[in-house]
């Protein structure tokens, strides 16, 4: 049996405590999948409508901030008659559990999904400790 895709909740708007944005455009929290391998932490974030030049990723200590600016999809001369989603920007902050080697971070954007590979720093990798024979 196939599973029906249904997003359980509507898109959640990102909020920054106590402040307001200058641009009057909605900001959404992009849904994300995160998995961890021995060497990397991989983040997959959905940001439909964002072009490759609209992505902004920063890493400060363990705070990873992902921002996406919508490229805009105005259909001039085409009034909107039915509406289920609105265009908006994306913003999300993650606190990572490991130290990241920031020089080797790889980010790609394909079909509206941001693919982020964050290699763990050498010091954060598990190390096997050999027992010395006494």
């Amino acid at each position: 049996m196939t599973q029906e895709v249904r997003t359980a909740d509507q898109r959640t708007a990102a909020t920054t405590a106590g402040s307001e944005r200058a641009v009057e455009r909605p900001v959404f929290i992009p849904p994300a999948d995160i998995y961890e391998t021995r060497d990397n932490i991989v983040v997959l974030a959905e940001m439909p409508g964002v072009g490759p030049d609209g992505v902004d990723i920063t890493l400060e200590r363990r705070m990873l901030t992902v921002r996406g600016r919508h490229a805009g999809s105005e259909h001039t001369g085409y009034p909107r008659v039915y509406n289920e989603y609105t265009d908006g920007d994306y913003e999300r902050v993650f606190t990572l559990s490991e130290n990241i080697d920031r020089d080797r971070i790889e980010a790609t954007l394909k079909d509206g999904v941001l693919h982020l590979v964050l290699p763990k720093a050498e010091t954060a990798k598990p190390r096997k400790i050999e027992l010395k024979a006494s």
Partner: protein
Amino acid sequence: MALSEFPRMGFDPFAELRRMQSEMNRMFSGFGFATARDFPPINIWLGENSVVVTAELPGVTRDDVTLNLQDDVLTLEGKREPKQPEQNGNWQRRERAYGSFSRAIQLPFRVDADKVEARFNNGVLEVELERLEADRPKKIEIRAA
């Protein structure tokens, strides 16, 4: 934001209260919308002689989607496969939805099946359908009596 009087005591009993308030505001800010959304969400734009249907399909490629047109009903079907993590990978967070989807969209008029254009752009599918020539409105001249 009002600062409470307690920080010098080393703890702030109102911090949690403020956090709760902002959480509640966030929860209710979108109240009134549909709670469960169909996937994918679509928008319809109506031109003079054509209609544009856009759908947000992040992570879906051209090969994963089939578009069918019957009279004035456009059917959008497809499947989104979950990405398997590499070996020894474990999920920390899974928020994206996977599986098959199907949506039937009733168009406002009959369209020409030969003049349909569909393209993907940054995870957004855009389908433009042209109105059937025979179906277009005709202007009727009123003759002077």
